[in-house]
Symmetry: C2
Subunit: 335 residues, 2 copies
């Protein structure tokens, strides 16, 4: 999984990892920065941190130098944040709080065993929102009916790197290539992208014979935000049009969102045309709730894999894993 963000990796590709020392700003100065930004006062921040005002001043300066830009605008008797600081501050808060929570949790659950999911017939599985909504949820409900005694837990996340605390037994992951060296991963299917809309929409907006016509349609977008945390390449309308040699310097209209299920909901309700992923929308194409208005498709490098995240899996995990592979094969043949 060449392009998968390192943070999805449990142990794969660790060898190529860089150390953080070079990439990070001075960490301690972040705490000072946060306090100073919160108070908009070095003096008050110093009081809070039990140091002198000079210390705060110096720490802030160190951080500003590391980031190579000012974080505070010094007026005569007041401070304000620079645009950079406004962007940076929430990130710092988030990361520090995250670490604080994590450390606190560690201290508490000292006799942490964290084997809950592995014993007692439990299996946890992770996937994207989209895949869960369109495939996995149905599959797991079916599995649950067949094997009610296996306790299944479905964790969805669109950020790859989400919930690092959470380790699931299985994971359905998208990537651009495969590396089977460390974790056991099984190819499920490749993917393909094409425009989709509802039959009702096409009936109401019939003039849609080629890619260029799309420019005059209600386009529904997966916002850049959707792709931000994903490791695979964003494929949006802009990329699509470019692949069709159509110029899109003019800004594209239409609602933008960061969730594929929501996008699909909008398409199903006849609100416009969106880009569809073959293996996500196959069922909806079969039932003709969705149709391809034009027959042009874009082959993605992206593929789905089922990954077993641990070396030694318990029986129920292997069981579900096998079951899913079979289910996916059935699904694939049905297309």
């Amino acid at each position: 999984m060449k392009n998968l963000d390192m943070l999805t990796l449990n142990c794969r590709e660790m060898s190529t990892m860089q150390n953080f020392k070079q990439q990070l700003p001075p960490l301690n100065s972040l705490v000072t920065f946060e306090a100073a930004a919160r108070h908009l006062s070095f003096t008050l921040a110093a009081k809070e941190l039990n140091v002198t005002q000079a210390a705060v001043s110096r720490q802030v300066k160190i951080l500003e130098e590391a980031l190579d830009q000012p974080l505070f605008i010094r007026y005569n008797r007041r401070l304000s944040l620079t645009p950079s600081a406004i962007i940076f501050l929430p990130d710092v808060r988030y990361a520090l709080q995250f670490l604080a929570n994590s450390a606190a949790a560690l201290k508490l659950q000292k006799p942490a065993t964290k084997q809950q999911s592995n014993n007692q017939n439990c299996v946890s599985i992770a996937s994207t929102q989209a895949f869960a909504t369109l495939k996995l949820n149905h599959w797991l409900l079916q599995f649950n009916r067949e094997y009610p005694n296996i306790r299944v837990k479905l964790i969805t996340s669109d950020t790859d790197i989400n919930m690092p605390q959470q380790t699931t037994d299985l994971e359905i992951s998208c990537g651009d290539a495969i590396d089977n060296s460390v974790l056991k991963s099984t190819f499920l299917f490749a993917d393909e992208i094409f425009p989709i809309c509802s039959p009702a929409y096409l009936a109401a907006h019939p003039k849609l014979n080629n890619s260029a016509d799309l420019l005059n349609h209600q386009l529904l977008h997966l916002d850049a935000e959707h792709w931000r945390n994903l490791s695979w390449q964003a494929i949006d309308w802009h990329v699509w049009f470019t692949s069709q040699n159509i110029d899109t310097t003019a800004k594209l209209k239409g609602l933008r969102m960061n969730s594929y299920p929501l996008l699909l909901q909008a398409v199903l309700n006849g609100n416009g045309v969106a880009l569809g992923w073959q293996h996500l929308v196959s069922d909806l194409l079969k039932t003709e709730e969705l149709i391809k208005p034009i027959d042009v498709s874009y082959k993605s490098q992206r593929a789905y894999y089922l990954i077993e995240t641990k070396q030694a899996q318990s029986a129920p995990v292997t069981h579900l894993s096998q079951w899913i592979l079979q289910r996916a094969a059935t699904d694939k043949n049905a297309c």
Copy 2:
């Protein structure tokens, strides 16, 4: 919004915030820990970090003392991670990478203006997955039809603290109380919780006359993971049964997931009974796609608010904000 996680706050309630100094483990030692854990060797980590082996040893010790527990098991010539370290390591990686990315982004986009969303007739709005799926998506699509020239962007997230880089103009937030001091927030509606299922499910499993009967039914759960990042109190089947004075020491069966839309999808397809939120499922109750098998409900302290995240809003933002308030009022009266 008393209980809202501080990280959703742009500036509200900052005064009550704690500083991080006390809550955080020694930050620099985290970098050393990460490298040591990656190499499973203090010597190699030292080489990577350009320090001596002794320095690594000491830093690890400092961290272990701060966390009050060992992170490495020292065998004679090799190391392994303790369970605590296995839990902690991904968190550390995540947070450090997050900071590194954020800092790198800052350095690059030096002339960062970040006003994209405010000019040019753009509005961005954030909500939970659930609220977007069941309400907001429809609303915004309608708004988009009425005002196609206003570019709307919908950002969904179930983590409160998600996407700190992202600042939206509007935000539909859930909380337990209201603080109107800093940001303009408008109460939308309170909430209420009760069991829901599909008519088909009830027909197939008719013996459901009171709360106690529920124990014998297919329960569908919002997993603890769903609540982990939310600031409001988790309300799951356990809490429900407790409120009904029903003992649930025995473990409850049924599929667990961390996404409300997925849970609802399962319920709609007749897979069991889940807990429904009044204002999310009202439309589905009206169309009788869902029903209340028993008439017992739990009043939640939780309420929805529309929040304007900035002091000075552009015209389209105010416009959408007003439109939503009106739309929400219509929705409420329709119940």
